[in-house]
């Protein structure tokens, strides 16, 4: 099995789905000749032509809205938002339209649209190239919000998102693009949207997280194993709708739960995870649920010390796991 980067897994999934289904096409800013500002669509215009890898004007709301219209007409568009931070002008189209079209038409129309957007910090991106935007979409029935952590999950989940008959927001951690590498089968496979994945088995403390923080948790767990602390890690993979069963069983497994997100703490998706645990397995807990998240400031600043202060890292996760283990 080939070892490839997280971003190469994105490109591979797009390329395979475009080859399999002529209704799949890409639209977005700089996705064509430039191959995307991160190069996620590199090589695709050469292979599939400019009609299927479409450079659009700077027009986020129309990228989403045109994608919705094309999807209703029977295409499977993959729209790229250049940075998740810039998705806000498209939010009316995503929340008022894409999310509600099947419901409001009583199943007459549907929107098989995937919207990809790079999110997340640790890349010196400052306030407007670092944000986590998932909480905006994570209480919108009709949407699915997928946030993979590994190249294997990226490929399987992106292919599943493109084949899904409902709109999917597919958020890719931009720090993970070239940092994270992993084994990815060259053949065709999909992974189920809405299913979390145990990334490490353990007995003392459960960490529930997603995205880049999964890797921070894995690094912390590796280190803590030497101290005799065994960590169980659940990767949510889909943050909306949540995999409740997997959350409950992971929480029950150790009775001590650490929730980690790179987003601001209040109102983030881990708050909902915490509510599920409180509702379903309070009496299985041996310690209060602990949350590790970004501070409640607008977004991470540019200056490296302040950015580092905001970001989650393996040391912060390690410290939080140890505190829970010692509780």
């Amino acid at each position: 099995m080939a070892v490839i980067s997280y971003i190469d897994a994105v490109t591979q999934a797009l390329k395979e789905e475009m080859a399999l289904d002529e209704n799949v096409f890409i639209l977005g800013e700089d996705v064509g000749v430039r191959g995307g500002v991160f190069r996620a669509t590199a090589g695709l215009i050469e292979e599939f032509g400019e009609n299927r890898v479409m450079d659009t004007p700077l027009t986020e709301s129309a990228i989403a809205g045109v994608g919705i219209g094309a999807a209703m007409y029977g295409m499977r568009p993959v729209a790229e938002m250049q940075f998740a931070d810039f998705i806000l002008p498209a939010v009316n189209q995503i929340i008022s339209e894409a999310a509600k079209i099947r419901y409001r038409s009583n199943n007459d129309w549907h929107v098989p649209l995937t919207i990809r957007a790079p999110y997340g910090g640790g890349v010196h991106g400052a306030l407007y190239h670092s944000q986590s935007v998932e909480a905006i979409f994570a209480n919108v029935p009709g949407l699915k919000v997928v946030m993979p952590s590994t190249p294997y999950d990226v490929k399987g989940l992106l292919k599943a998102s493109i084949r899904d008959n409902d709109p999917v927001i597919f958020l890719e951690h931009k720090r993970a693009y070239r940092l994270i590498k992993g084994e990815v089968p060259e053949d065709d496979y999909t992974l189920p949207i809405g299913k979390a994945d145990v990334k490490r088995e353990g007995d003392d403390v459960t960490v529930i997280t997603y995205g880049l923080a999964v890797h921070f948790a894995l690094q912390a767990a590796e280190k803590l194993e030497n101290e005799g602390i065994s960590t169980h890690i659940l990767d949510l993979r889909t943050v909306y709708p949540l995999d409740k069963e997997a959350i409950i069983s992971a929480a029950k497994k150790t009775g001590k739960v650490l929730l980690v997100t790179e987003d601001n703490k209040e109102g983030s998706v881990i708050g909902e995870v915490s509510a599920i645990i409180a509702e379903e397995c309070l009496f299985d807990l041996d310690a209060p649920v602990k949350r590790l998240a970004g501070p409640d400031i607008p977004a991470m600043p540019y200056a490296p010390p302040m950015e580092k202060f905001f970001m989650i890292n393996p040391e912060k996760v390690e410290k939080a796991i140890r505190e829970l283990a010692e509780f």
């Binding site: 219209g69 008022s96 038409s105 199943n107």
Partner: protein
């Protein structure tokens, strides 16, 4: 003797009579909905009155078996021309399970019907404009040579989605007709406080597209403009912005009181050029519509509206728990 205008446009006597009948049916359904609303039987109405001529004229200029529309909430005349029935519309008015637009989930005026190529609509205005562009793009990708027509009010022409969609369609030369039904009011705000330019169609130039303003009370003028736009679009000459100028004869909706922002005299004056009256006069002048035929049409439509009302009133609501269905594919 009045000049026969429709023949020059390639429209048969039967076609123009059908146009009139469609306009009249829309008007009569709309009027009935107001009565039902005032009688406390349906919670909400939003009207087509004053815009039927533009809606029907435009629809007749399209290939109604092939083209796709993304209408807005006043377009009852247009959706009837595309195949929606009086019964369908009344079921929507009464929010009953059989309503093909939404099964009673949406307010009336939120049209959508896949089998008749009517894209589903929401309440935030102008979002549908981008969907028409997407449908036109998809049609071109599939090699189907369709035209997508979308409508919106002059108020909506100030929204970002109008600009983004028109520019997108202009750049990619897509077969889209942007039809602005300028009825001179965005709820209470008159067109002078909505636009700094004289006509909405003046904006076409900025998008590199064909633009034209026509009398929205004249279905033949609208037909001609939309036909020209559709022919151009089908030949690959790109999108068009057609502005139809008419007047909103009713308050914005059943929850509005237009006496608070415009005079009765102004409304009465506008009624003199109501497309239903002026088009009936034209049809009489060219000898297609007689008093006898007019009475026959009115009787026929009254019966259709009665039957649709009775059917919809007695139809079942969807089961309350069915509210949980169709969030995602099932």
């Amino acid at each position: 003797m009045t000049n026969n205008r429709h023949e020059k446009l390639g429209l048969s006597d039967e076609s123009v009579l059908e146009m009139y009948e469609t306009m009249l049916l829309a008007r009569k359904i709309d009027e009935r909905m107001w009565l039902l609303n005032r009688a406390g039987k349906i919670p909400f109405v939003i009207s087509c009155q004053g815009q039927e001529a533009a809606q029907v004229g435009a629809a007749f200029a399209l290939d109604r078996k092939k083209d796709i529309i993304a209408p807005y909430y006043r377009d009852m005349g247009m959706v009837i021309a595309f195949g929606m029935t009086a019964k369908d519309l009344m079921l929507s008015g009464f929010a009953k399970a059989e309503d093909p637009n939404s099964g009673g989930r949406q307010m009336p005026g939120h049209f959508g019907q896949r089998k008749n190529r009517i894209l589903t609509q929401s309440s935030p205005v102008t979002t549908q404009v981008a969907h028409a562009v997407g449908a036109a793009l998809a049609g071109r990708m599939k090699g189907e040579n369709i035209v997508a027509l979308t409508t919106f009010g002059e108020g909506s022409s100030n929204q970002g989605d109008f600009h983004e969609s028109a520019n997108f369609a202009g750049v990619h030369k897509l077969p889209v007709i942007f039809m602005c039904e300028n009825n001179k009011y965005a709820i209470s705000v008159p067109v002078k406080k909505q636009l700094a330019c004289e006509n909405v169609s003046d904006r076409a130039q900025g998008y590199g597209m064909f633009g034209k303003t026509v009398d929205g009370n004249d279905p033949l003028a609208v037909y001609e403009a939309v036909k020209e736009a559709a022919d151009r679009a089908r030949k690959g000459e790109g999108p068009a912005l057609i502005e139809t100028v008419s007047y909103r004869l009713t308050p914005h909706s059943s929850d509005d009181d237009d006496r608070t922002y415009r005079t009765r005299e102004e409304v009465e004056e506008a009624k003199k050029t109501d497309g239903l009256i002026t088009f009936a006069a034209y049809l009489k002048d060219v000898g297609i519509l007689t008093d006898e035929k007019e009475k026959e049409l009115n009787d026929k439509i009254a019966a259709i509206v009665d039957e649709a009302t009775d059917y919809a009133e007695n139809a079942e609501y969807a089961e309350p728990e069915s509210a949980l269905k169709y969030v995602y594919e099932e």
